[in-house]
């Protein structure tokens, strides 16, 4: 284990680095890259709560992303609500879906691969419904929000495309950075709370945890609620940034995969894991596009091939992810003895 002083110092450097990053890089393309990376980190942190800390691997986290995104879009599109009001309903809606799916799955004792399959099935059911209930969701055409062109309304509409110069360039970046900081703080709080300890106990051995008095069902329900809240916040960001959502983006398999890939590669059940994982895969993806762009001219699929390969390699050689590798390297450097977790 890395000593607490170093840990806090590391987090401080990371946060300061991300806050000041826009001042050091002026290229809009890199800001865009950072935005997408931080977005993946928020999505991953949401998955990490349930999958990493709770050991319940979901294959359908798009459920929460999509519900957050659709509510955020529809409440503005249909009723003209302010995005600042809509976001709480979007968040609540995501949690509600989490409670619904969690209640059914955990009440009926679905675990492991079966839990993964049922979340996938629910995501697909929502996918079909969002495509078919045209009177509610506009169907396959999707929902487009009006672009706000008034600079004075930028904050009120939570759209920065026509804002004053600073907000126009960095508004979305700081918005997603703020969301990531909140998500990480919530995860850190959870990890250090009694609730977090109960959740890890359930992950390690559900029967044993119940035997010492942990209510496994209630613990998993709380975990899926928090997880759904964070993941639907990523959906809220997506809609404010791209002003568009459709059934495929919202409930298709891509977002479910994106949510689980960063924490698994970065390190399951660690606060830092999803963040490092997101930076690693998006860095590799960007590098691959950069180096092969001339030959293949941005043919789609290359980055995801790499993500898949990295995922399989990490599962094979470093199931504890990049954070596990870092800790091992740190111990070698500082000469401390390995802990029991290394042998797991």
């Amino acid at each position: 284990m890395i000593s607490p002083q170093f840990r806090y110092a590391g987090w401080l450097i990371l946060v300061l680095g991300l806050v000041t990053a826009p001042l050091l890089i002026s290229s809009g393309r890199w800001i865009e890259f950072l935005e997408l990376t931080l977005f993946a980190a928020v999505l991953g942190q949401g998955w990490n709560i349930l999958g990493g800390y709770g050991g319940q691997y979901s294959f359908g986290h798009a459920l929460f992303f999509g519900t957050g995104a659709y509510l955020q879009a529809l409440l503005q599109f249909k009723f003209g609500w302010s995005p600042w009001v809509a976001m709480w309903f979007a968040l609540g809606g995501g949690v509600l879906v989490g409670v619904f799916v969690g209640y059914l799955s955990f009440r009926y004792g679905l675990r492991g691969s079966y839990f993964a399959l049922i979340t996938l099935a629910f995501a697909e059911a929502f996918h079909v419904l969002s495509r078919s209930l045209i009177s509610v969701t506009e169907g396959g055409r999707g929902v487009s929000l009006d672009l706000n062109r008034d600079p004075d309304m930028a904050l009120a509409t939570l759209q920065f495309n026509f804002a004053a110069p600073f907000l126009k360039a960095y508004g979305y970046y700081y918005l997603i950075l703020l969301m990531l900081i909140i998500a990480c703080a919530a995860t850190w709080w959870m990890a250090n709370s009694r609730f977090g300890a109960r959740l890890v106990a359930v992950r390690e051995n559900e029967e044993a945890a119940e035997a010492i008095g942990v209510d496994a069902f209630a613990t998993k329900m709380a975990a899926i609620s928090l997880s759904a809240a964070i993941t639907s916040s990523a959906g809220i960001y997506y809609v404010q940034k791209f002003l568009f959502i459709d059934p495929g983006i919202a409930y298709g398999p891509a977002k479910s995969v994106e949510a689980l890939i960063a924490p698994i590669i970065g390190g399951l059940g660690t606060v830092l894991g999803p963040v490092i994982g997101a930076f690693f895969i998006h860095g590799v993806g960007e590098l691959a596009k950069e180096t092969t762009g001339l030959v293949w001219q941005d043919r789609p699929g290359l980055d995801l091939i790499l993500f898949g390969v990295i995922l399989v390699l990490m599962l094979a050689f470093a199931p504890r992810g990049l954070v596990g590798l870092l800790e091992r390297a740190w111990r070698k450097l500082s000469g401390t003895r390995p802990t029991e977790r290394d042998h797991a």
């Binding site: 679905l110 993964a116 996938l120 059911a125 495509r131 045209i134 789609p300």
Partner: protein
């Protein structure tokens, strides 16, 4: 229920359907029967895909999430054999089935068997990783365009009275049944089949009596992929392929397998037909888009209320 009650029920249903953006039509029995028959043809392919999945689960106790992507890959193989070499999709079976077996054998030996550390969820994630790789290799190499094999006889067929069955549909049904029978004979009449069943039942015991368990695992995986390759040949004349075809089929295959009972041969066959018929009836009554909900709905209901399925052992 009295006549009034059923009228009310139909009115309610119609109101609900109106909300869902579709209409409840009372179809004649011949339309319904025709739809069900086309469901039988479709279901026979589902059964074949599910057969491979259930075999892999029964022997290796892993859920192969890459199953749909393997089908997609085999469909591309059939397509390119047809478009580049002019090989008829049914003749292509002679190439893609052995190739599928070897690919599956190798995949299990080199990747899936080595990386899961024996933990269920990790193996599931590894197969998810494999499916991500396969799907995007297809996207990268072949683009997102749909590809469709055209055979000269794909519009000819037999008039069954209530519906018109084209030859590719009849071939799908016949081919699936023959392959299922062949697989059943293989499992019951050959030494390798016996060894596979021994490993499925009691892998430690099988190891003790001298069966090479790793080899049997890989053979089972290979047979699973060979089933998928055969299904790809039978599917090619009626079904276009694109990189995401795998995702559609993985959901259907899991539904069939869970419905029939994980690891059950009979279950996969019966489940395939049930899902094929339900899907077609769903499309008839609920429309092309909403009709697909029947698959996820059955999947969820079975997972919740009877995860052992119709023919599986209790889990």
């Amino acid at each position: 229920m009295g006549n009034k009650g059923s009228e009310l029920l139909i009115n309610r249903a119609q109101a609900a359907m109106e909300f869902l953006g579709t209409e409840l039509t009372r179809y004649g029995w011949d339309t319904v029967l025709g739809s069900a028959i086309s469901g039988v043809f479709l279901g026979s392919i589902y059964a074949l895909v599910a057969l491979g999945l259930t075999l892999i689960y029964g022997v290796l106790h892993i859920i192969n999430f890459a199953h749909g992507s393997l089908l997609m890959l085999a469909m591309y193989a059939v397509f390119f054999l047809w478009s580049l070499a002019g090989i008829d999709p049914y003749v292509a079976m002679l190439i893609v089935v052995p190739a599928g077996f070897l690919f599956g054998y190798g995949l299990q030996r080199t990747v899936i068997g080595k990386t899961g550390h024996g933990r269920d969820e990790l193996v599931l994630l590894v197969t998810l990783g494999v499916s991500i790789i396969l799907e995007n290799v297809a996207l990268f190499a072949f683009s997102a365009d749909e590809r469709q094999v055209h055979v000269p006889y794909d519009l000819d067929g037999i008039d069954l009275g209530v519906t018109f069955a084209v030859y590719p549909e009849l071939a799908a049904l016949g081919g699936s049944l023959v392959i299922t029978l062949a697989l059943w004979l293989f499992m019951t009449r050959t030494d390798t089949g016996l060894a596979i069943r021994a490993v499925a039942k009691e892998r430690q015991g099988a190891r003790v009596v001298g069966i090479d368990v790793e080899h049997i695992f890989a053979i089972s995986f290979g047979i699973g992929v060979a089933c998928v390759a055969a299904a790809a040949s039978l599917l090619a004349p009626t079904y276009a392929v694109h990189p995401q075809t795998g995702y559609l089929f993985v959901l259907i295959a899991f539904t069939v397998v869970v419905l029939g009972g994980m690891g059950s041969f009979v279950g996969a066959l019966v489940g395939g037909f049930i899902i094929g018929i339900t899907e077609q009836l769903g499309r008839l009554y609920l429309g092309e888009s909403l009709g697909l909900i029947t698959i996820s709905a059955i999947f969820i209901a079975i997972l919740l209320f009877r995860p052992a399925g119709l023919f599986g052992q209790k889990i």
